[in-house]
């Protein structure tokens, strides 16, 4: 059984007991335990079920690479599926539940898949489930979906908060093992601003567990001294529980800091996402041990040798009483020695190498451990727990030489450097044949904007170096390459570096490992079908061989066909073993087969952290006009328009939106309406060349506009399509104020800047977006002038301030710019005042207008009135395919100019064509409103069997002024077809009949707006 040892455990505090539950069962552990360690201490070896076959799964690793021990963690708004037990720190009240089984972890109906596994090899679903045709959607797929998936679905809204943090560092060191510490110290001592991050709560990484001495003292002392030295350096920032999540172009990288996962009751954000620009990044990310591929290597109790050692040494936990070690390298002997030292039994070490191990092997033997060279595991006995191993010769086909009883198998297939972060942004790898691993190629580092490499690898993550007599993955090499990387990073950034003296190190010499990709090497089909590569996704040696046989020869094909490496661990344990298996099946060398692409993040990061603070009200910036609060207080029904909110209408109590809109329209047409027009874009275009510039931007001639006057202008894209419209006012000789649509302000500003910066960079023009500097209010209706006259003694008569003119006027003591322009067809003034007085001025207008029954109106009344008047609306009459000529706006296109944006495009054959659809008014025969977006049908169908069409509705409203439905539309040769009746089939099954009429429904001669 697995249990807590009487003594030991570097990371736990036996004085502090922690209570938690697993599958409802109360358990206890110690502060410092990971959930996996605490579960093992409670004899809970089986922790989950696999994805495809629902096989029993026990913890196999002790860190971020764990594929099996995934749990549903927490409850309610703090629930999270798929949490790795190996990286979850326990706390009082933690609740965890195992995943992917029904009804229970112990008894799972889905485990039938395992019985049928012979019929369910890689890719079987591509070959089956095809008949009858509808069964995939309705029968097979629902079963597949239910059986797949892992964790439970979160139900409640996230109860935690998240934040982003932006930072710059000269050197970021990822990994707080001895290599990371040493690299950070080397760079820090050179004066660089350094960030050192470590994903676990502990500094020092594996080295203290692995043993050895630095400067004659235990590694632990060296770690403590180095951390203390770093903490004393003002230019070094240290963070634990922070993972390097991804490396992106130009030295951009993500740090994922888990602030409250270990203490969820504490206040503050749960995760912090660091968005870092780094001059240099040092990956000191260590290495991950590889499993061995033998039959039954997925039975709970089969673990990585390093993990067994970690649980014994770090947590004082025994994963089992009798541990058989099986290895192809010397490092696993350390596990045997540590297990023995903890008072547990090691019945045998099976060393696949015929020649056996070196000094560590001798030490193990000296402690009385039986070592069998040239031997391996033929088969693991046991279903939900290891019961023993059948021993065979590695060189053979699996003939059993001996049976050994045990409850843990500690396996080691060698080590793979963690090269993910090196590779994210294009760093290349080389194959190290001696150590059978891919390692960073320092000649092909990811390159930054200057073409220089910006990532350096340090320690074991750099692989085994060949630049000195030293070699290997030992402690000395780790420190040496770390100093080199830290110093080089600082030097490349221009910091003055000096030689850093390396400490003296004592460690065991190791004998070379020998690659073992299948155990035994001649294993037959039966054994290969039980030799797992990917524990979570249930990919076996036989599956990869099947993929190769069927022609899925590219490593990407094999991955996708078998799902190898696509589980939540992203192949941290399985990829290299899978690649080697594929290479062997194809008869190719491993480097020729190559790796799949390493993609961010290194381990999964929360969506909450990615979204950060942006949610609900703060999802996007909310732009408010100065009168926003007044609208809110007066019952506005809001409409989001870009990041603004605009009042759609102001319904009174019990009033429908339609009724409110009708009331607002009628009150404005009869007397006086007020519109908050502050959201309209306002761009100041200034400079000696401003007129010339606007002549290019607009189809109209703007350079001839007189100061004090306004002109309605159209703007087209380079392709000739209408993109925005608005009134341009000339303020003085050098200054224009261009109004844009609400949605267009930023877009048009950017459009202007693009042309100025890329094409006409030598023109003397500046553009400033002053949209938010002004509150702008439209005062509209027959009584508009009377109201303004109450507020000023200045002359604002029709003669002094005619239609399409503007004037600076002091209104009620407020400096105002009054534009006499109209989007409603009424007598209308748009008044711009400084934003700071907008709210007060709005109140003053309401007060002054009271005697005229002043009525604020919203966007819908605005739309109705402009449609009654036949004014186009960008986004309704236009959709990016409409040119001004389609809309009867030829009058706004200057014939005198040589050029404007879109002119050449509009001369193309399909644009300059009388067959285009053109703007008309539409009136239903029965007075009802046409449906939004309906199309007018023509005779017959086209070559693709689609009904022919000859026009469409662009805007449709019920007009309270006229008491009937009105619409605007684009119709084939429309203006020549007045009076014709067209059919518009609706999605409601009805066909609407509408007559083509003039698009101006109200006050054709402009008598109302020109008074």
């Amino acid at each position: 059984m697995s249990t807590r040892l009487k003594e030991g455990g570097r990371r736990i505090d036996r004085a502090k007991q922690v209570e938690f539950t697993f599958n409802g069962k109360r358990m206890s552990g110690f502060e410092g335990d990971t959930l996996a360690a605490a579960l093992l201490a409670n004899d809970q070896v089986m922790m989950g079920r696999s994805f495809k076959y629902h096989r029993p799964r026990g913890v196999v690793a002790s860190g971020a690479e764990e594929p099996n021990a995934l749990v549903n963690l927490g409850e309610g708004g703090k629930f999270e599926p798929n949490q790795r037990a190996t990286t979850t720190e326990i706390f009082d009240g933690l609740t965890a539940a195992s995943q992917n089984h029904w009804p229970s972890l112990d008894f799972d109906v889905g485990a039938i898949n395992a019985k049928l596994s012979r019929f369910l090899p890689a890719g079987f679903y591509y070959k089956t489930f095809m008949f009858p045709r509808f069964a995939w959607k309705h029968l097979y797929e629902p079963i597949v979906r239910q059986s797949a998936g892992l964790g439970r679905v979160p139900k409640d809204r996230d109860a935690d908060t998240y934040e982003h943090y932006y930072a710059f560092f000269d050197v970021v060191v990822i990994g707080g093992g001895v290599a990371g510490l040493m690299a950070a110290k080397s760079a820090g001592e050179a004066g660089a601003k350094v960030l050192l991050m470590e994903q676990t709560p502990h500094w020092g990484g594996r080295a203290p567990v692995d043993g050895g001495e630095v400067d004659g003292k235990p590694v632990e002392d060296f770690v403590a001294a180095t951390v203390a030295a770093l903490e004393a350096m003002g230019n070094v920032t240290l963070r634990t529980r922070m993972m390097g999540a991804g490396v992106y172009d130009h030295g951009y990288m993500l740090g994922y800091q888990r602030l409250r996962d270990h203490a969820p009751a504490a206040k503050g954000p749960r995760h912090r996402l660091w968005r870092i620009r780094a001059g240099r990044i040092v990956t000191a990310t260590g290495a991950i041990e590889r499993p061995l591929s033998f039959a039954g290597n997925d039975v709970p109790g089969v673990m990585l040798a390093s993990a067994v050692r970690d649980y014994v040494v770090d947590y004082g936990v025994s994963p089992g009483d009798r541990v058989v070690v099986v290895t192809n390298n010397d490092d696993a002997y350390r596990t045997a020695i540590a297990v023995k030292a903890a008072g547990l039994s090691v019945p045998a070490i099976l060393d696949a190498r015929a020649g056996g191990g070196g000094a560590l092997a001798e030490e193990a033997k000296a402690q009385g451990i039986r070592v069998l060279n040239g031997m391996g595991v033929a088969k693991v006995h046991g279903k939900k727990r290891v019961e023993g191993v059948a021993v065979c010769r590695q060189a053979g086909e699996g003939a059993v030489e001996e049976e050994i009883g045990c409850d843990v198998v500690a396996m080691s297939g060698g080590w793979s450097p963690v090269v993910h972060l090196w590779s994210h942004c294009g760093g290349k790898l080389v194959w190290n044949d001696k150590y059978a691993m891919f390692q960073p190629n320092p000649e092909a580092s990811p390159t930054g904007a200057d073409g220089e490499g910006f990532v350096l690898a340090a320690g074991v993550a750099a692989g085994a170096q060949t630049d000195t007599d030293f070699e290997g993955l030992g402690l000395y090499e780790t420190l040496r390459t770390a100093v080199r990387a830290g110093t080089q990073a600082a030097a490349e950034l221009g910091f003055k570096t000096r030689d850093v003296a390396l400490p003296t190190v004592s460690e065991h010499d190791e004998v070379a490992m020998e690659p073992v990709w299948l155990m035994p090497q001649g294993a037959g089909a039966k054994l290969r079908m039980k030799a797992w590569l990917d524990y979570q996704n249930d990919v076996k040696v036989s599956d990869v061989q099947l993929a190769a046989r069927e022609g899925y020869e590219s490593v990407e094909h094999t991955k996708r066909y078998t799902t190898l490496g696509m589980a939540t661990d992203q192949g941290k344990l399985s990829n290299i073993n899978g690649l080697a298996t594929l290479a062997n099946a194809l008869g190719e060398a491993i480097p020729q087969v190559g790796t799949t692409t390493f993609r961010p993040p290194y381990t999964p990061i929360s969506m909450g952290a990615i979204a950060g603070e942006a949610r609900a009200e703060t999802f996007q910036p909310l732009r408010r006009t100065p009168m926003h609060d007044w609208h809110e207080e007066n019952g506005a029904h809001w409409e989001p328009v870009g990041q603004w909110r605009r009042p759609y209408c102001y319904p009174r109590k019990g009033e429908s939106h339609a009724a409110a809109v009708a009331r607002e329209v009628m009150a404005t047409r009869d007397s006086l309406g007020l519109l908050d027009a502050s959201t309209l874009g306002k761009l100041v275009v200034k400079g000696p060349d401003a007129g010339k510039f606007l002549d290019m931007l607009y189809t109209n001639m703007m350079s001839t506009l007189k100061p004090g006057r306004c002109r309605y202008g159209l703007m087209c894209s380079e392709n000739g399509f209408l993109i925005d419209d608005g009134v341009v006012a000339r303020i003085d000789e050098d200054t224009f104020l261009c109004h844009t649509t609400t949605g267009g302000a930023e877009r048009i500003h950017a459009h202007m800047e693009e042309w100025l910066q890329t094409e006409w960079w030598d023109w003397q023009v500046y553009v400033a977006n002053v949209t938010e500097q002004y509150a702008q209010i439209a005062v509209v209706g027959p009584n508009a002038r009377k109201v303004l006259e109450k507020l000023t003694d200045e002359d604002i008569s029709a003669e002094s301030l005619p239609f399409m003119a503007w004037k600076d006027v002091t209104l009620d003591g407020v400096n105002s710019r009054v534009y006499r322009i109209s989007f409603s067809g009424e007598l209308s003034y748009e008044i711009a005042v400084p934003a700071s007085v907008g709210r007060a001025f709005w109140g003053r207008l309401l007060q002054a207008g009271e005697e005229y029954g002043v009525t604020p109106y919203g966007t819908e009344a605005l739309h109705v009135m402009r449609a009654e008047k036949g004014f186009i609306m960008i986004g309704d009459e236009t959709d990016g395919t409409v040119i001004p000529q389609d809309l009867g706006l030829n009058w706004a296109i200057s014939k005198k100019k040589d050029d404007y944006l879109g002119k050449r495009a509009q001369a193309r054959s399909f644009m300059d064509n009388p067959d285009r659809w053109q703007l008309v008014g539409l009136e239903t025969v029965d007075g009802s409103a046409l449906p939004d977006g309906a199309y007018a049908v023509a005779e017959g169908t086209n070559a693709n069997g689609q009904r022919n069409v000859q026009g469409r509705v662009t805007s449709t409203y019920f007009s309270p002024t006229l008491g009937k439905g009105i619409a605007m539309g684009l119709v084939h040769k429309g203006p020549d077809r007045m009076g014709e009746v067209l059919d518009f089939p609706g999605t409601d099954g009805k066909t609407y009949k509408a007559k083509i009429v003039d698009p101006v429904f109200y006050d054709r001669d402009g008598e109302k707006q020109n008074v």
């Binding site: 070959k127 089956t128 964790g151 294009g426 020869e553 949610r615 392709n719 000739g720 495009a905």
Partner: protein, 420 residues
């Protein structure tokens, strides 16, 4: 090379039979031949579109002396990198025609190819979150009605029934309705390429992987072959179907394309139990999501803003997309992003594809699918095969290269505010 005999059919019985002998009898899904000296037709690009073109050349026109050239591994471009959405609720007639043709071919593709591509008509919903979007989708619904594409504009209540994990009343962009295509859905992207490849190989066509085209040979303005890393190969007709790298191939033939290549990214969460049956696209906030059969939430958003060929993108687009979807589906805040990746999409000015003859006689091009190519694969192959065999096709008629010179755009950016 023919004499390999017809391929062994896939079925549950075949799987059972093979199980008895540890699956040792499965044959290759597609052959790995050496190139011949010449072919009637060469297709460059063994992605979904290229393989589908070859397949329908054989199936519909009996043209089987065909080679499909691939510089990497088949299906390794955007066919293997997309978010597998299949829909045809497009606005403009030519788009609706080709996408609906594709969607209808997807319905029977598994049976047609004898390869389960897992087409799942689970339905696609495009959310309307502004009044402007409401009007836009109502317009699309009207257009679809006349195009023979079944869609409907549905209420917020219906939206909630279709996808219970949605938040309808987010304070910033409440859901006002949606455009619902019940017969849209998802498919297994890799399987589409593999299924076509197997069928093409079975017809005697040669799929030449790791065979990069380095030059295009012409005589008197007519294409006569290609230079490749495996030697020169002759042909009568040449089809260029290489998505993001189309401009490179066009340059070899001496003409330019109105294409920009940008990165489009996607990501998946860790797998969870089923919670979302349909595909939801939220264009106002810029993101879309579905749940794969494996249980991962499959997520995509907008394309990157600068041109490149890197097949990776910048993180701020991932952030924008995830933020949008956390807002739309608050529960995903507690899920984790497992993996992000990128592909290079070829964008035209009107966001519609190019299926066209070229200035070189006998040379045809199929590209410009931008962010929406996967859903079009069978329709694109069908139309492209007809174009190459007969010189014209009603499906491709409006997608010619000359439309840019004439100003005759098929503008779909009108309707689709988000990459997909």
């Amino acid at each position: 090379m023919r004499g390999i005999g017809p391929m062994r059919r896939y079925s549950a019985f075949a799987v059972a039979r093979e199980a008895a002998r540890y699956h040792s009898g499965w044959e290759r899904a597609w052959r790995s031949p050496e190139p011949k000296k010449r072919y009637d037709v060469i297709i460059v690009g063994a992605g979904g579109h290229g393989l589908a073109t070859a397949y329908y050349l054989g199936k519909n026109f009996g043209i089987t002396n065909v080679a499909i050239l691939e510089k990497g591994w088949l299906g390794g471009g955007n066919t293997g990198r997309n978010t597998t959405i299949i829909r045809s609720n497009y606005l403009q007639d030519p788009s609706a025609a080709i996408y609906e043709k594709a969607r209808s071919l997807y319905e029977t593709m598994s049976q047609d190819l004898n390869y389960n591509v897992m087409f799942s008509p689970r339905g696609v919903l495009m959310l309307a979150q502004t009044e402007h979007e409401v009007r836009g989708y109502k317009r699309t619904a009207h257009a679809n009605l006349l195009q023979g594409v079944e869609t409907e504009f549905v209420s917020p209540q219906r939206v909630k029934e279709l996808v219970p994990i949605i938040s309808l009343d987010g304070p910033r962009y409440p859901v006002l309705g949606g455009l619902w295509q019940a017969r849209g859905g998802t498919g297994r992207h890799d399987a589409v390429a593999w299924g076509y490849a197997r069928a093409c190989s079975d017809m005697g066509m040669d799929i030449l992987q790791k065979c990069e085209v380095t030059g295009i040979r012409q005589e008197g303005g007519k294409v006569v072959g290609v230079d490749t890393t495996k030697g020169t190969i002759g042909c009568d007709k040449l089809g260029i179907v290489v998505a993001g790298h189309s401009g490179v191939l066009a340059a070899m033939a001496g003409f330019r394309l109105p294409i920009e290549s940008v990165a489009l990214q996607a990501l998946v969460s860790e797998p969870i139990k089923p919670c979302m049956d349909i595909v939801v696209m939220a264009n106002t906030v810029h993101g879309y999501m579905s749940q794969s059969d494996k249980g991962e939430m499959v997520i995509g958003g907008g394309a990157d803003g600068y041109n490149n060929y890197t097949q990776r993108g910048s993180f701020h687009h991932i952030e924008e997309t995830v933020r949008a979807l956390v807002e739309t589906f608050p529960m995903i805040s507690r899920l984790k992003m497992l993996r992000q990746w990128g592909g290079i999409v070829d964008m035209t000015g009107d966001r519609s594809p190019i299926l066209s003859k070229t200035p070189v006689e006998g040379m045809f091009i199929n590209c410009g699918w931008g962010t929406g190519g996967f859903k079009a694969i069978p329709g694109s192959g069908w139309g492209m095969a007809e174009l190459m065999a007969k010189g014209s096709s009603p499906l491709t008629e409006e997608f010619g290269l000359n439309r840019f010179a004439e100003g005759r755009f098929v503008d779909e950016s009108v309707a689709a505010g988000v990459a997909h």
